[in-house]
């Protein structure tokens, strides 16, 4: 296959396939968790589960009192790479164009320089997180192969995209194929790795808040 044929495949069937696996896989993962269920609580409640669950989803998005350097670093670097990734994904005009060609929907793009900045910041934050994973004894002890694998899978679309914008490394079409494939691998990996936290975070926070809320405690 020539690089153009590859490009046609990854943009068409390849993307559909990876999206399909992503959606089905994630649905399965969430359903599997949900159907594990939990015992009905027979103690007399003092507060609302729903409300506190929702509040906890919201409140855990911020710094909390008594946080240490490790905490500030986690939250700031975490937001930087998540936002860097999402903004780059959603506001680069080529991405919007691709989306428009499928769905007819589009929105204004950000100038390329802004996208370059968000991508570079995203990569920088990811590098910082990786260095810290080795440097911090707590994180190093907790880390397993998936932490490193997921790091690679997340950084690749950003790096290949940046190379693409600045026309470096490989011929344009080949690099574009590599870039799209790196994104597709990421999509497919989400349901099968700890990357699924991007969805299950809402479930985990909700349960935490609901368990505390039942007892009348804001968590």
């Amino acid at each position: 296959m020539t690089s153009t044929e590859w490009l046609i495949w990854v943009r068409g069937p390849g993307l559909q396939l990876s999206l399909g696996i992503f959606i089905l896989g994630m649905t399965y993962r969430i359903m599997q968790t949900y159907f594990l269920g939990r015992a009905k609580n027979l103690a007399e409640p003092r507060g609302s589960q729903w409300l506190h669950g929702m509040k906890t989803i919201w409140w855990r998005s911020f710094f909390h009192p008594g946080m240490t350097i490790r905490g500030y670093f986690t939250i700031i670097s975490g937001y930087t790479f998540h936002l860097g990734f999402i903004i780059t994904l959603l506001f680069l005009d080529q991405h919007i164009e691709l989306f428009r060609s499928w769905t007819g929907l589009s929105w204004p793009a950000l100038p390329p320089i802004v996208i370059t900045i968000t991508a570079v910041l995203g990569i920088a934050a990811l590098v910082a997180v990786l260095v810290d994973r080795f440097a911090d004894p707590v994180r190093y002890l907790l880390s397993d192969y998936q932490d490193y694998l997921c790091w690679v899978l997340t950084v690749l679309p950003l790096v290949t995209g940046l190379l693409l914008v600045y026309k470096m490394w490989l011929p344009y079409t080949s690099l574009l194929v590599v870039h799209i494939i790196s994104f597709e691998i990421l999509l497919v990996a989400i349901p099968f790795t700890k990357l699924s936290h991007v969805f299950t975070i809402f479930i985990a926070r909700w349960y935490n808040g609901a368990i505390a809320g039942y007892k009348g405690v804001q968590s």
Binding site: L36, L42, R70, L141, K194, N208
Partner: protein
């Protein structure tokens, strides 16, 4: 695989529910929970990171519920849990966790880590891995009726002293009383003043109450060790006595985990709702306060602070009541920097104080409280849990700190006004 290991693994599997699965799926290994745990902050040893204490349970979840875990198991690549692994984790799960729940408040992805520690202990004890101190306390609770081996005659003896002291009769086995009060062995043996205090307050407020000769113990070692069966048996005794005496309320005493056991876990342990309500002594006292049935006189002049027992405040939801009550008798009540739902544990909860093996670690963990007290510069500390109180006293003594520890109910009883409250100022400490 030995029978007990198999039983332990089976128990752990049964405890993996939707919250547990969502927590393990979501953990990003950021390590932020370490900073919430006094065992980590005071030792800086990474193995005390809360989520790390659950590694065996996490491995089991990974093998049972994830694509790669299941695939590896099918292909014969996965390493099943071993007795050695559980044995190695025993000190992490018991000695270095007071089940204070502070970690659960700080995890950015929302993991309720202590919810999982509670479950992990079920599997550990089923597999035969629990500290000797806790095992024997649980055995005493089941066979004698109290983890400290206190039988009713011992309580009767204490009651006699208290009655002589306060000149009031302590009601025992009174049918049709409104409230049945429970005690902790620690109170009976070390702080019997509590019995006198509530008797005086209840007498003045005209509360019809009673103790039960066959169910006076509120603590529940079954919960601390993580054995739901034994915990349920202990709860059943309280329920039977409350039903026999036909009371409307059961009062949980100044004890942290007893409240968790009775109020939040009890009905779930026995599998049915209670025919009565459980009320914490602080909730009841606060009700009396709001009905003007708790008139006090005089205030403690010295600056003092309040130690929040984790199971009553953060994990129990009784947060403002002790503060409102303390304000009544304290002129200069200062809060520690982290207080209320973000308080730091004394270091002796969750069965740690019953576990001799953990004695040194407990004193190390106490340094957190020491720093808090030093920062505030107080000489009086009020609390509402007999176990916290003993742990605090031990820690203070070990560190040669001149801080008096008071129980809230007693402090209120000491300031109880016979008639209407008089605005005087006294020096009580």
């Amino acid at each position: 695989m030995s029978v007990s290991l198999e039983r332990g693994i089976q128990t752990l599997k049964e405890h993996i529910d939707a919250p547990v699965a969502s927590f393990f799926t979501t953990c990003v290994h950021c390590g932020m929970c370490a900073d919430a745990c006094l065992f980590y902050t005071e030792t800086k040893d990474p193995k005390y990171t809360p989520i790390y204490k659950l590694k065996p349970l996490r491995r089991l979840w990974h093998q049972e519920y994830t694509f790669w875990g299941k695939l590896a198991a099918k292909l014969g690549f996965s390493k099943p849990l071993t007795a050695e692994e559980l044995k190695e984790w025993e000190p992490l799960v018991y000695d270095s966790c007071t089940m204070c729940g502070r970690c659960s408040m700080t995890c950015p992805v929302g993991n309720d880590i202590v919810y999982m520690i509670r479950k992990m202990r079920e599997g550990m004890v089923a597999a035969g891995f629990a500290p000797e101190g806790l095992k024997s306390a649980t055995e005493r609770a089941i066979t004698i009726g109290s983890p400290m081996g206190v039988k009713f005659p011992a309580l009767k003896n204490q009651i006699k002293h208290v009655e002589a002291d306060i000149g009031l009769k302590i009601p025992v086995d009174v049918r049709g009383a409104e409230y049945m009060a429970l005690l902790s062995s620690m109170e009976i043996m070390n702080f019997p003043e509590y019995i006198g205090a509530i008797a005086k307050i209840f007498d003045q407020a005209d509360i019809r109450w009673t103790l039960a000769s066959d169910a006076f113990e509120a603590t529940n070692s079954g919960i601390q060790i993580g054995s739901s069966d034994l915990a349920a048996e202990l709860v059943e005794r309280v329920v039977a006595a409350a039903e026999r005496l036909k009371v409307n309320y059961v009062i949980s005493p100044e004890c942290g985990h007893a409240y968790t056991a009775l109020r939040w876990e009890g009905p779930n342990l026995i599998g049915r709702p209670y025919p009565f309500k459980v009320i914490h002594i602080l909730e009841l006292l606060d009700q009396l306060r709001s009905q003007d049935k708790l008139p006090v006189t005089g205030k403690i002049k010295e600056r003092l602070t309040f130690h929040d027992p984790c199971q009553i405040v953060r994990r129990g939801g009784v947060i403002e009541e002790p503060r409102r009550l303390l304000e009544m008798v304290a002129e200069d009540f200062a809060e520690m920097e982290d207080h209320g739902i973000m308080n730091w544990c004394c270091g002796g909860g969750g069965g740690v104080s019953t576990n001799e093996r953990a004695a040194t670690l407990k004193l190390t963990a106490f340094n957190r409280k020491r720093h808090q007290l030093e920062a505030l510069g107080v000489n009086t500390l009020v609390t509402v849990c007999a176990n916290c109180r003993i742990t605090l006293e031990e820690g203070l003594e070990f560190n040669n700190m001149d801080v008096a520890v008071l129980g809230l109910a007693e402090t209120l009883a000491e300031h109880l006004a016979e008639q209407s409250p008089a605005p005087t100022t006294t020096q009580t400490h």
